[in-house]
Amino acid sequence: MSYLLIISILLGIIMLAMAGIAIYHKSQVVAIIAAGALGLFASVMYLLLSAPDVAMTEAAIGSGLSTIIFFYVLNRIRTTDEKEEQQLKK
């Protein structure tokens, strides 16, 4: 077994764990971060698979920008929810 193989298996396990967190973690924020991390680990794997272009794209777009967009939306949804709660309290 070459060390590359071992690394890739480790990466795979981490990625599956990330996917699990993204699906099942109670906190939305953690879930979104986990989904982004899944993309980041995937881009490491792309590097191993001799695909630097893809790795860059996945890191910048697949995990970077989409995570940011997720957060923006989550933030909006939360603020409305909070406002409502405040209104309810009043």
């Binding site: 630097p52 272009d53 893809v54 790795a55 860059m56 794209t57 910048a60 777009i61 970077g64 920008l65 940011i68 967009i69 923006y72 939306v73 909006r76 603020t79 409305t80 406002k83 409502e84």
Partner: protein, 229 residues
């Protein structure tokens, strides 16, 4: 109960994927298509050192045109569907350190972005990656200086001009070159230099600008959207 049904479905899906796995045997050599791209005389026809870029911009340039269109569409849809809601900025004060750092970082990040898409035919990266980096500079700006006016017109014009240049170059290829998106309408230059590979760096630069502008627009719309209540 319902989940059991879905477990069965997913398991069946796995069963369906299995033959793909079973008949997968890795690659020992390039496919016929890829070897064509890697052959010397063909590489010289396009003259791009990064073969992925050659494929993306030239051989499969029509896909890239579609891809740019998708971002364009997404930006347009987000723009017209969120426009109805009031724009009201979150005027939070940011720390001075963050602001100062941002002032330094933003130009650097932008430079990096430009570098990435201009060298797309030589090294990893290209218009999309560079554009995304540009957009991240814009995010930083939005976060650090939430009250500076976002000049959406500038972005819109950048987007339109870049798109038109892309389509225009493509059409010129069909008119004077040997086909739509032919990169040989500009001099191919010397292999491995910045000004080589014909229209590729030009196209990729404009793709970069366009993607950067579109992503910035999208982010800005998300940033500025405020709920009705």
């Amino acid at each position: 109960m319902k989940n059991i049904f879905i477990i069965i479905i997913i398991a069946a899906f796995g069963v369906m994927l299995y033959p793909l796995f079973e008949d997968f045997s890795g690659n020992d050599e390039l496919s016929e298509l890829a070897s064509f791209y890697a052959q010397k005389e063909n590489v010289e026809k396009v003259n791009s050192a990064n073969l992925v870029t050659a494929v993306v911009v030239t051989y499969r340039g029509l896909d890239t045109l579609g891809e740019v269109t998708i971002l364009f569409l997404a930006a347009a849809i987000i723009a017209f569907s969120l426009r109805k809601h009031s724009v009201e900025r979150d005027l939070r004060r940011n720390s001075e350190i963050f602001k100062t750092a941002s002032k330094v970082l933003i130009p650097i990040i932008m430079m990096v972005g430009v570098y990435i898409f201009m060298n797309g035919h030589l090294s990893p990266g290209g218009g999309f990656q560079g554009g995304a980096v540009l957009a991240s500079a814009v995010i930083l700006m939005l976060l650090a200086f939430p009250n500076i006016p976002f000049n959406s017109k500038l972005f819109a014009y950048t987007e339109s001009i870049s798109g038109l240049v892309f389509v225009g170059l493509a059409a010129i290829g069909a008119l004077i070159g040997s086909g739509y998106l032919d990169n040989a309408i500009l001099p191919l230059g010397t292999f491995g230099e910045l000004l080589s590979a014909g229209a590729i760096p030009v196209i990729y630069s404009f793709v970069g600008l366009k993607v950067g502008a579109e992503l910035s627009n999208i982010l800005n719309e998300f940033q500025s959207v405020q709920s009705d209540n």
